[in-house]
Symmetry: C2
Subunit: 94 residues, 2 copies
């Protein structure tokens, strides 16, 4: 990946039931992060390993500063609707 | 990502000391996985989040079957030289 950027990834499970309107609404809100200035390579993914319980993943790349719209999403949606998650942030090694 | 493919990711920490010859040798062996038939988008990364203790990451994409060279690397190097890890496998949601 490009030096100076962070690939911010998070695997997560929602408090909403599978297939529910709440799940759909949360995922749609998450996808709108793709439009936040500075966010690149945004992906909303299914987490499919049988070795852990996470059901979704988000991967996005940006510089070292997070945009207020991203922080707002975390405050207004993430903290109340995500039941379990793990963040991993990657950078180029060289 | 492309439907029908898995993005196999693993965050890990080595049993080898930071900057040691053992660490370097392991990482070089890991990078050779990029040449395994069927492996695409291989990346060896630094894990930089202060919220977890993992130091490295590998991301690669392939179909649903793992190549024997990949399984051999897991048997011969991974199991003895990696002290902690977490696998996350991603797929397209649609």
């Amino acid at each position: 990946m490009i030096a100076g950027r962070i690939r911010h990834t998070v695997a997560f499970t929602l408090a909403h039931a599978e297939g529910s309107a709440g799940e759909r609404d949360f995922l749609e809100a998450a996808e709108r992060l793709a439009a936040v200035p500075g966010v690149e390579a945004f992906e909303l993914l299914a987490e499919v390993s049988p070795k852990n319980g996470y059901r979704f993943g988000i991967s996005m790349e940006f510089g070292y500063n997070e945009h207020p719209d991203h922080l707002r999403f975390v405050q207004e949606r993430w903290l109340s609707e995500v039941s379990d998650f793990l963040e991993l942030d990657y950078a180029a090694r060289y």
